[in-house]
């Protein structure tokens, strides 16, 4: 199998509502998610996750079939799921960004 032929994301488990990317996705790329064709709403890097369905605040995020945190902001199918719209249910993480950066992105 060549990566050019394969889907840009992987479904690791039936229950998962996020899909990790196997290669970089560019805004506008065609994504086929569970038979639904959409244009990628934004860029997503390799190893990052996109939403498999529309997600609401409080939704538990499932990867490998297990909870890995919960959604903090409404997220549409195909959108990047990361620190801006998701949090840990165990312990806060730290990022290198200053508070200024966080304000800019919110």
């Amino acid at each position: 199998m060549n990566q050019k032929d394969a889907s840009p994301f992987i479904q690791l488990h039936d229950k998962d509502n996020v899909l990790p990317c196997r290669r970089k996705i560019h805004a506008g790329d065609t994504l086929v998610i569970d038979g639904k064709t959409i244009a990628a709403p934004g860029d997503i890097d390799v190893g990052h996750k996109l939403a498999r369905t529309d997600l609401r605040p409080g939704d538990v995020v499932l990867k490998y079939g297990v909870p890995i945190g919960s959604i903090t902001q409404a997220t549409r199918i195909g959108e990047h799921v990361h620190t801006h719209n998701m949090k840990s249910d165990y312990i806060a993480i730290t990022t290198r960004q200053s508070t200024g950066q966080e304000a800019k992105s919110s």
Partner: protein, 400 residues
């Protein structure tokens, strides 16, 4: 493969001389001795603190009589708290050549360096004839650690190491995985793999301890680069890290410096006991690697997504790159390209087999990439541990 026979029955895959400083004040002198020796198999280790610490003394003793070590040169300033006599005695009792140089008694920097260089050369000649004996893969202790993890680590390199661990456990090797702070969220599935229910409970208690400790520290075991690479939460990172352990039953819990009593798969509990006293459990990846080596690891499998370059003193590090983009950027630092799994160009089983073959090659004398590049990072700091409880090593409790 042929191993170096040691007096305690263990066999080494290297025959290095370690030069160890017992306080930061002796670091420069020790480093100059190592530099002047200009030999890939003369390694620098040490402890920076002036105050004594039981954990550090035990770690240092275990490291100095590690099967990969052939001889030890101890460099002391003279007034520090480290119990140099006790360290010297343990190494001497193991039958290895050992010498202690006390800078304050040797006339200072230049004369100690000169004496040290001479001592290393003498030792080098003395250990050239250590008996070589046949050694099987089942006699290896193989550890794993992840560093610079990203969203690809848990998809490629970590589960591939898990496959390799399963192969190793099957042939009778001893495998160690670790960092309970990076297993937060995996406690129940891990407990279900324990060889006894009591061990399962002990595993959960271990992870609870880690969660408590890291909460007080104010940070999880999560670096900004993890988030840059697509990991969003501690539990997401944990699930990826956990995959390194494979599917074999978990035979026991050990603490830094405990050599596993039998073959099988062991969890190394790296989080100190009691209320936090000396700061973060491990301040970087090499602190973990040093602990794995103190448990007897001959080789450490290091998975990385972002692209760590480190190696280690004493035991070779095999670098398994998870991310295909990282591999393209820094191929000369990687032993195994596990990112091919993401591209569909290799399976987890195939890469697991490649790692197994690389372990056999490195154990037979081939230099790992980080080893050939001269990476010999080492760090040891303050910690405090209680001995493991009876539930942690069921096989030993049973045979006792």
């Amino acid at each position: 493969m042929n191993g170096y026979q040691r007096s305690d029955g263990r066999k080494g895959i290297r025959n290095v001389i370690v030069v160890t400083y017992l306080v930061e004040c002796a670091h420069h002198v020790a480093r100059r001795i190592v530099d002047a020796s200009a030999d890939m198999d003369v390694h620098l280790i040490g402890f920076p603190g002036c105050y004594p610490n039981e954990y550090s003394l035990r770690m240092m003793k275990n490291l100095c009589v590690h099967p990969n070590v052939g001889g030890v040169l101890i460099v002391s300033l003279g007034c520090e708290g480290f119990n140099r006599g006790s360290l010297h005695a343990v190494v001497a009792a193991s039958g290895r050549p050992v010498e202690t140089l006390v800078i304050q008694e040797r006339g200072g920097t230049a004369s100690t360096i000169a004496a040290g260089v001479k001592a290393v050369a003498t030792m080098k000649a003395a250990i050239a004839n250590v008996p070589r004996v046949s050694m099987g893969v089942e006699e290896l202790v193989v550890a794993t650690v992840c560093g610079g993890s990203d969203g690809t680590s848990g998809l490629t390199a970590n589960p591939a190491v898990g496959k390799c661990f399963d192969l190793l456990v099957e042939v009778g090797s001893t495998c160690i995985f670790e960092e309970t702070g990076e297993l937060i969220g995996c406690e129940q599935i891990m407990a279900d793999r324990a060889v006894t229910p009591a061990l399962g409970e002990a595993i959960k208690a271990c992870v609870d301890k880690a969660a408590h400790y890291y909460t007080i520290m104010g940070y999880g075991s999560f670096a900004p680069g993890n988030a840059d690479g697509g990991l969003t939460t501690q539990e997401e990172k944990s699930m990826g890290a956990y995959a390194k352990s494979g599917d074999s039953p978990i035979s026991g819990i050990i603490k830094p410096g405990d050599v596993p009593p039998a073959n099988g798969l062991y969890l190394l509990d790296v989080v100190p006991d009691g209320e936090p006293r000396f700061g973060f459990p491990n301040i970087n990846d090499n602190a973990e690697i040093a602990e794995l080596i103190a448990c007897g690891a001959h080789i450490t499998l290091f998975t990385t997504g972002r692209g760590s370059v480190v190696g280690s003193a004493i035991s070779p590090v095999i670098k398994i790159c998870a991310n295909p983009e990282t591999y393209q950027r820094m191929p000369d630092d990687m032993d195994i390209d596990a990112g091919r799994i993401l591209n569909g160009d290799a399976t987890l089983d195939e890469v697991g087999g490649e790692i197994f073959a690389k372990i056999a090659a490195v154990a037979s004398g081939e230099r790992s990439v980080s080893e050939a590049l001269g990476h010999q990072e080492f760090i040891l700091t303050y910690k405090s541990f209680e001995p493991v409880g009876p539930a942690c090593l069921p096989a030993r409790a049973h045979s006792a």
